[in-house]
């Protein structure tokens, strides 16, 4: 078996990631070009959503409490 990168996640999470990987990549594999681009952009939006939302919330809290960012 190939040596893994350091900090590889625990086995249960790896199994979930593999299942998720097959799902997301499987869809992309059968899509034509423009639909695939739309799919990629949609996935990017979805995965960045929690981080973007947290950033907006942090800015809001800082603004309301009068703190500088």
């Amino acid at each position: 078996m190939q040596e893994r990168l350091p900090n590889s996640p625990p086995l249960p999470l790896r199994i979930l990631q593999i299942i998720g990987g097959f799902f997301f990549c499987g869809i992309a594999l059968v899509l034509p070009y423009r639909m695939r681009v739309f799919y990629f952009r949609g996935l990017a939006w979805l995965f960045h959503l929690p981080v973007e939302a947290f950033g907006k919330l942090a800015r809001f809290v800082l603004m309301r409490t009068g703190k500088n960012n």
Partner: protein, 275 residues
């Protein structure tokens, strides 16, 4: 300064802007090539960056060129697709690498049309899980350029890279320890340091900031590629095996690239179309 020209792949980001500033020391005319495709069509065009470079280097001429690599990318992705899927499976989703290859194909075509002999690229050793950043890919590019009597250079390839400010990149890439591992604070001058000293950047590291996003043209969206790399391939086969698979996959794509450059019937793919 000798009256010479070079072409430079230019997104307007820190690394390519630093490469442009370095190119200004050796070349009087610098053609800044920015590539736009369907996936990045809403991304800003780095015109402001070009103006800043022109203002900083008044003895040089910076020519901004915007090329659409959509057709070439589509061809690289889907030509012989069924056979490629049967042979390489999910490697066909290494689209960031195919996007990179399409840029270089158009760059070669541009250089041959404008009799430019040198190509500069601000590629560093960040995000080394991307095919276009890997050493084997860069070596293949050098060969491809040399076949057309062109010289491909990476002036900032070995420069230290700063700590990644993007949370998701730190979580997904750096934490997993994609080689080479970042040793913490870089020693030596980073591309951001260099631009900051020249007055072309407000801070030593603006990568991942809002300013960075507003001034540079995006690369191909890579969330799906990160899933392919870290969720699927690295968990199933290990990173080294994944890299070996990428080498085999891109060997066929580089062969296809050679055919594209040689066959005149594909000339429509290279029409310099403004997006």
């Amino acid at each position: 300064m000798p009256n010479s020209a070079c072409a430079l792949l230019f997104s307007g980001g820190t690394d390519s802007t630093c490469a442009a500033a370095l190119a200004a020391e050796s070349f009087s005319e610098i053609h800044l090539l920015t590539f736009s495709e369907h996936a990045t069509r809403y991304s800003p065009v780095p015109t402001a960056r070009v103006r800043e470079l022109q203002a900083a280097f008044t003895k040089n001429r910076f020519q901004q060129v915007i090329l659409s690599n959509d057709r070439v990318l589509r061809y690289l992705c889907y030509h012989g697709y069924l056979r490629s899927v049967l042979q390489f499976g999910f490697y066909n989703l290494a689209t960031p690498g195919l996007s990179s290859l399409s840029w270089h194909l158009l760059t070669i075509h541009y250089c041959l049309q404008h009799r430019i002999k040198v190509v500069q690229d601000g590629l560093t050793r960040e995000l080394m899980h991307f095919p276009g950043h890997m050493d084997f890919f860069v070596a293949k590019l050098k060969c491809l350029y040399a076949e057309h009597d062109l010289r491909y250079e990476n002036p900032v390839r070995e420069w230290p890279t700063p700590y990644d400010q993007q949370f998701l990149d730190r979580l997904l890439v750096d934490y997993r320890g994609v080689p080479p591992a970042k040793p913490g604070s870089p020693t030596g001058t980073t591309t951001g340091d260099y631009l900051h000293k020249l007055g072309l950047s407000p801070a030593k590291n603006i990568k991942g900031t809002r300013l960075d996003h507003l001034t540079q043209h995006d690369c191909y969206p890579f969330v799906l590629y990160n899933i392919l790399c870290f969720w699927l391939m690295e968990n199933l086969f290990g990173f080294e095996s994944f890299e070996e698979g990428l080498k085999r996959f891109f060997e066929t794509k580089f062969q296809l690239a050679r055919v594209l450059l040689e066959k005149k019937r594909h000339s429509k793919l290279f029409e310099l179309v403004e997006p």
